[in-house]
């Protein structure tokens, strides 16, 4: 039997962000880990009212990636930070190469 539920309305123009507590809860980590990630320059939360940290979804993904790398590949935070920087750079270069390939070389190389 299939039950139908009421419609949910989601609005992309409302920016989604997470508080420190939410982030810790979702990732099952303590706030000390978040403090370490900030100290390693991996995430940069904004400070909002009453000095509360706010994390956007890009930072949230970075936290999850670091935790996966740490768990699966035994990488420490310094190594994970390096991996993230290199991954960002690779992505940038790939995007640039794809642009050149399409609009300058036009598949001729």
């Amino acid at each position: 039997m299939v039950k139908h539920e009421i419609k949910i309305i989601a609005d992309y123009s409302q920016e989604t962000s997470l508080t420190l507590d939410e982030l810790c809860d979702i990732c099952s980590i303590s706030s000390d880990v978040i403090r370490d990630l900030i100290a390693y320059d991996i995430i940069h939360p904004q400070t909002e009212n009453q000095n509360q940290w706010v994390f956007n979804l890009v930072e949230f993904q970075r936290v999850k990636t670091v935790l996966r790398l740490q768990h699966d590949l035994d990488v420490n935070f310094a190594g994970a930070a390096l991996a993230l920087d290199l991954l960002d750079e690779i992505e940038e270069l790939r995007a640039h190469a794809a642009l050149l390939e399409r609009h300058v070389l036009r598949g001729k190389l």
């Binding site: 039997m1 299939v2 039950k3 139908h4 539920e5 009421i6 419609k7 949910i8 309305i9 989601a10 609005d11 992309y12 123009s13 989604t16 997470l18 809860d25 979702i26 099952s28 979804l57 890009v58 993904q61 990636t65 996966r68 790398l69 699966d72 590949l73 035994d74 991996a83 991954l87 995007a95 640039h96 794809a98 642009l99 399409r102 609009h103 300058v104 036009r106």
Partner: protein, 319 residues
């Protein structure tokens, strides 16, 4: 269920030492880790690796697995042998078991049957205090570049399994209407709290993450909020200048090509990219000069005349 050849997955022989197995796992884990790998089906391959390593790194599990014999082939139809005691061993080791219910969720039926997945769960539920937050779910929203520029509304229907209090699983169809404002960019995410998988033992549901996927466009490429377009021109347009109507997401706009334009030149149409909160992106037209083939005698004579009248050596820098 299908037999899994864990040695083949890790690319080691059946006689490999524990060190060899660890080394092989580490090498392949780096290669197929979904966060770093561009290999096709990296996620699937990494899951298989983890499962194979989970068994072969543990001498007890490895011995039990080896007892199945070496005549099995990967993918062969397999039934747990009578009197198989993998479950019992796993039960006693549960107190300090290294993996969680969540990790095991991704492992195959083959693994679960040999090393006791379902047994573990019912064992835990007997105690009645097992609580786990629901899984986070993800869904992609495919939109066109035009939609990203103008904004749009999309309706998603997600089919979600839900357990009622008596333990029965029902399929629930959840309809989500998503408002996508102008200027939404590739990969942009949104979190719908508690709309993910159901929690276990009264724990909260997971979250649902929506991710925007902008489809490739036949003319334009997208980089952040900037749009790129190839602008093919004739040699005489490049040499003499021209007025060209350029397609943009908001319709055609006029662009003045100055005399003496060269191939590869990037011409900017300010503010013609995707709208942004602070500033819109730009559009870039990348100039390409197309040279027509000389097909008739007259056309050939024209090129010959150019060769005589225009002293031009593009290889003058060669020594």
């Amino acid at each position: 269920m299908e037999y899994k050849d864990y040695y083949a997955v890790l690319d080691v022989s059946r006689s490999a030492s524990q060190d060899d197995i660890k080394r092989a796992y580490r090498r392949l884990a780096r290669k197929y880790h979904p966060d770093v790998s561009k290999e096709p089906q990296a996620e699937e391959k990494f899951k298989n690796l983890q499962e194979a390593y989970e068994v072969l790194k543990d001498p007890e599990k490895r011995t039990a697995y080896d007892q199945l014999g070496s005549n099995w082939k990967q993918g062969q139809e397999f039934k747990t042998p009578p009197g198989w005691d993998g479950n019992v061993r796993f039960h006693t080791a549960q107190g300090n078991s290294a993996f969680t219910e969540n990790d095991m969720g991704g492992f195959s039926d083959f693994f679960a049957n040999l090393f006791g997945h379902s047994q573990t769960r019912s064992h835990r539920e007997d105690f009645g205090r097992f609580r786990q937050r629901g899984n986070d779910d993800r869904a992609k929203i495919n939109i066109s570049l035009e939609d990203a520029f103008r904004g749009t509304t999309k309706t998603l229907q997600l089919q979600i399994p839900e357990m009622d209090p008596s333990g029965q699983i029902h399929q629930v169809v959840r309809t989500i209407k998503v408002n996508i404002p102008p200027g939404t960019i590739q990969g942009q995410q949104m979190r719908l709290a508690n709309q993910g998988g159901q929690g276990i033992g009264g724990a909260p549901a997971g979250d649902l993450y929506l991710e925007i996927e902008i489809q490739p466009h036949p003319l334009f490429s997208l980089k952040g909020r900037d749009i790129y377009l190839t602008l093919p021109v004739t040699p005489w347009e490049a040499a003499l200048g021209a007025d060209i109507k350029i397609p943009t997401l908001a319709g055609r706009v006029g662009l003045k090509l100055v005399p003496g334009s060269i191939a590869g030149q990037k011409l900017r149409l300010k503010g013609r990219g995707l709208p942004g909160k602070l500033e819109p992106g730009d559009q870039y037209a990348i100039l390409q000069i197309e040279t027509p083939l000389a097909k008739t005698d007259e056309q050939r004579q024209l090129y010959e005349k150019m060769a005589q009248m225009m002293p031009f050596n593009p290889r003058k820098d060669w020594l």
